[in-house]
Symmetry: D2
Subunit: 359 residues, 4 copies
């Protein structure tokens, strides 16, 4: 297993979906960053289940306890440890999956790799683990705030329902004004309708989150292997259910010729270097160039569906299995704070790494 | 900078495009792997410039020298160091870019981040660095051969010309039978024609490489952060000109419902666990499940075009700049061995990491 | 800060002496290791304060809570998180050191490095942090038990009172039969008397712990930098109050000639390769050679003394300061489980690293 | 194997004593450090064999070639790669040790761990590997020079012949004025005589190098695991033949009471915080406190002696074996530049790590 992420600003998460709790240690955050425990809680509230009828009806308060690293409203430079106890896990029945391999879940691979697994709700492979990331992301956001960096992601597609314009034509302050977390209100309504229809059919639907990072100074990213977009890509791909990542022009950029794709430099009226287009997505040679950073993250439809499916048990025998319990018909709205968190974690690490390499 | 990749099977590359040479140290390869220096050379020959009229006419022999780590045809467990001296760099004139920032290159960001750069041909940001990766990938391939793992990638799209079928309907032994490295001969011809047209227009064109890994056993991948597809994604995104990565169903999977997307398990006649579809791309919960692994990597059109473009110099003044010299109109054919190398490097590392975690 | 130790079997500790609690995440322990929570508690009980009149009278139960990673009496391969809440910290008065720099403590350096510190009882620099290491060490010990490795350290010197013979002439099963943890009963009595005299004079005394590891197979250790003794040395030097480390012949070995120092190999009656002497301390070329591993760790006298001392405050003004509260006159007895824990952590990591490098 | 050292300023060495050559990649050195290739050569010249009649008569020029990372007299921020080709290895006869295990060498453990070894002169376990460290150390020294840090070690003991005073009573500018590298001329003469006597008896002798680092600012060191002295200890213990490390009062400090050992703070006339004694060795809580850093490193007598010794071959049969060839009767004089190099490497890394953790 590898439960750490980041090089200097480094997090390590722990915990199973149905054990005592989940949590995270953040090691490497500098001393002196202003941070209230309340900010961490607010980030968690954006991700917690039970927020609306579009997400799982499972209710968990996800109350965070700060175990170390904060003193008098500031980080102390020591490890920050955060604990979120599980609450809503006791009474459920997981006997139907104790010996069954749910299709497109991690049951089979965990059993094969580890020889045993905590089958209650997915154990370590559950998306519940991402709550720890969101908590850590709030600490990263506090560090980034000191230099004016701000991550803002939103739902840009659910199934085939997509926002018709790019991020730069949207008012990102509208992201949290609807249940879907899509800043294009008309599309948000259509997305919500699709999610409700899907839920009612006992099915699930996927989609795309667009990530945006504003205020990133020139110079973040560590070629040749830890290019900024390579770290962002790994961060996003490490989130449950993610199947793809592209930045700037992405896959669509393969259809352009070089003469169309290149971003011409110019100097603006304020004397700042800028580019006329931004197919580069704010990153050139793996290093931020001062323009907006944007990327897209593909989420598959959730694997747990409340319909019978053919599969096998741990004896290799074919069985029929239907999901039980309370699950998200669409993870996209709750994925937004997770994408924000991972963006913040990557940028915080890169910020500190850039500082380490100045004479 | 970060010039190392991998955790246990770990490589560190060095060298500039126009300095003395480039090379790599491979640390962590077990002792006793059969490996001839010739295998490394053959891998490099697939990547070297000047192979055909579809790539740069620049000729470099890319002759590898083994400095350490091999003895009597086997690895010794000590670091394997490989050096490729530069040969074709002396006589060229780079004065036109010494003070200019080429559009969509790393010139501007390197200057800002490091305060100085070796402007001759891109220095460290040049794709020439990938020769060191290819050399290291040959060592990884030798290790993987001992357990039957084999990486095979091919060009599946150039501009808008795409192979009409999936990898599983292709004969992958045809990959190296044409200049494009596309195992669908008819499409390969159309791709070659498009590349030649683009070259003659002094432009460049991008495309997609499809990566395939066969024979991967169940159990490779280290959740929750170092999921197999997350490491593959980072590896591919660290290659010059890559803009996107998707595995299995990828971005297209966002258009399916869960009931369509899930891969049903069954037991085949030989008693092996398999899935009826493979939207998972051979990876579930970040761990290989024994099915074929496949993914797609998007390459932008090369930024260097032999046409005048508007840009700025290092004083911020607007200038016109045209590329000079001998460049690839399309990197896709030469990207195939690089994708193979990075696939091998990821899998070799994951193989050793899996071994470390057995009781 | 760097609060992680180990490469594959990797721990990360957190917590301040007077905050909510301290704890540790163990990442990289294989699945399937038999381990009862009770074993962790027993290890902590050996280290906890208030065990006898030779140590601090401060009483802390040091009750461990397992937050994750164990299921049904076995490790699951997921991160093992352990939490020890602080109990005895509330009522004390630390105002006398809020602005004072205690001599030979970390107050001054922490203030200078981090710009702020939790002055209550040393914060992160307190030896209380080692409780987390001891808890983690119990997990490492459970892993090592599966291959027959056993760490056993003891107090070999307090002040000038030293055990007159080497470890191989002692009955190590006597270690825990006296308060000092010295398996030479007569010397243990003299050590205890010295500690009591020192305590009564409001002073402190240092000493030496001898570490022994039995049953270590040939082949642990990763040259050239992570030699087994180099990792052991770092591990021991990272313990509070440690000033020196030597293994095998150590500093005394510098007085021998090569012809006296070399360990002659022979084959014993059972066909095992052995050495007639063991100046090498069981390690040759940084790799265990199958003989007993032994080393010595020097602990300075505790810096907190209940006598007035000249020092400065955080304004640079000279002041007189006397320690308050309940402190150890000698840390050696409680250092024994810490040395054991660090030995186990190094060996567990090296065991897994060795497994990773087999073809 | 683990052939990398350092976290941000990170080196990876390669090469065998009798292969093509040895070398090092330095990754993480900031751009803009003034460094002439000649400085690297000078450092190597201090370590090379054949300098005097006190060391091995083997002559090797140890000519360094800079393969990358320097441009116009400055570091570029890209990896610095250095290669030293082997020269004097061709004609020797190693057949007598191909199947023999030399006492107190790494032959046996390497064979057991790796299953094969390059038996020519020790292969990777040869002290020749330290030439790569010395070359890298020169780069670290150039970085440290920018902030006024300077490492200076010297031979303080050979066999039982010891310098009678501490480093602070010596004129360190005398270190290189004699063949032994001991700045106490009278003692140096006695050391030289002892080495010559030992050589003439076909024996070897060990000793102690005292390391000193001057000009280290407050704040270097990363508790709780990567304490400055813990990293120095690991660095020194990773050098061939080292058996022990102590800093400040070291093992002798265990004989003092706390009231004698504590270093009283005061403010000097210039307003600087200082300590009246320096038993702390310039490090408190694992962090440099601005006072001089000093430590001692114990080297065993070289294992290769030109006398017959009992040992076994790789079939376990007992044989007699005598060293052949040209070896050092005492490594201490040549160990000085190695200790300096490792000191510089640790401090350079810690300097950059400290920079990464400022808000």
């Amino acid at each position: 297993m590898s439960n750490s992420f980041g090089s200097i600003f480094r997090i390590t998460t722990f915990g199973e979906s149905h054990g005592v709790g989940i949590g995270v240690i953040i090691d490497g955050c500098p001393a002196g960053v202003a941070l209230a425990a309340d900010e961490i809680q607010q980030a968690l509230d954006r991700r917690r289940p039970g927020q609306s009828d579009l997400t799982t009806p499972r209710k968990e308060a996800d109350q965070v306890e700060v175990l170390s690293g904060l003193f008098g409203g500031y980080t102390t430079g020591t490890p920050i440890s955060l604990l979120i106890r599980n609450q809503d896990q006791a009474s459920h029945d997981y006997s139907h999956i104790e010996h069954a391999y749910r299709p497109s879940h991690a049951d089979y691979t965990y059993d094969q790799k580890y020889g045993r697994r905590d089958y209650r709700g997915g154990g370590r492979s559950s998306a519940r683990e991402t709550a720890a990331r969101v908590a850590a992301g709030a600490v990263a956001a506090a560090l980034l705030r000191t230099v004016g960096i701000r991550a803002q992601s939103y739902v840009s597609q659910v199934g085939a329902v997509a926002v018709p314009v790019g991020y730069e034509q949207l008012d990102l302050s509208l992201i949290d004004t609807n249940l879907v977390r899509c800043p294009h209100p008309e599309t948000a309504d259509r997305m919500a309708a699709l999610i409700r229809q899907t839920r009612d059919r006992h099915d699930t639907v996927g989609g795309i989150v667009t990530g945006v990072a504003l205020g990133v100074p020139v110079g973040l990213g560590e070629p040749v292997f830890d290019k900024l977009h390579a770290e962002l890509g790994k961060a996003m791909l490490s989130i449950n259910a993610v199947k793809g990542f592209e930045y700037g022009s992405g896959f669509a950029g393969t259809l352009l010729f070089g003469s169309e794709h290149n971003d011409a430099f110019y100097t603006d009226e304020a004397g700042l270097v800028r580019t006329r287009t931004n197919h580069s997505g704010g990153i050139q040679g793996g290093i931020s160039n001062g323009q907006d950073i944007y990327f897209r993250v593909a989420f598959k439809p959730v694997a747990t569906i409340l319909q019978p499916q053919a599969t096998i048990n741990d004896q290799g025998e074919e069985i029929m299995l239907a999901g039980k319990g309370r699950h998200d018909p669409c993870v996209l709205p709750r994925a937004v704070p997770i994408v924000d968190a991972m963006t913040n974690l990557v940028l915080a690490d890169m910020l500190l790494r850039a500082r380490a390499n100045k004479v």
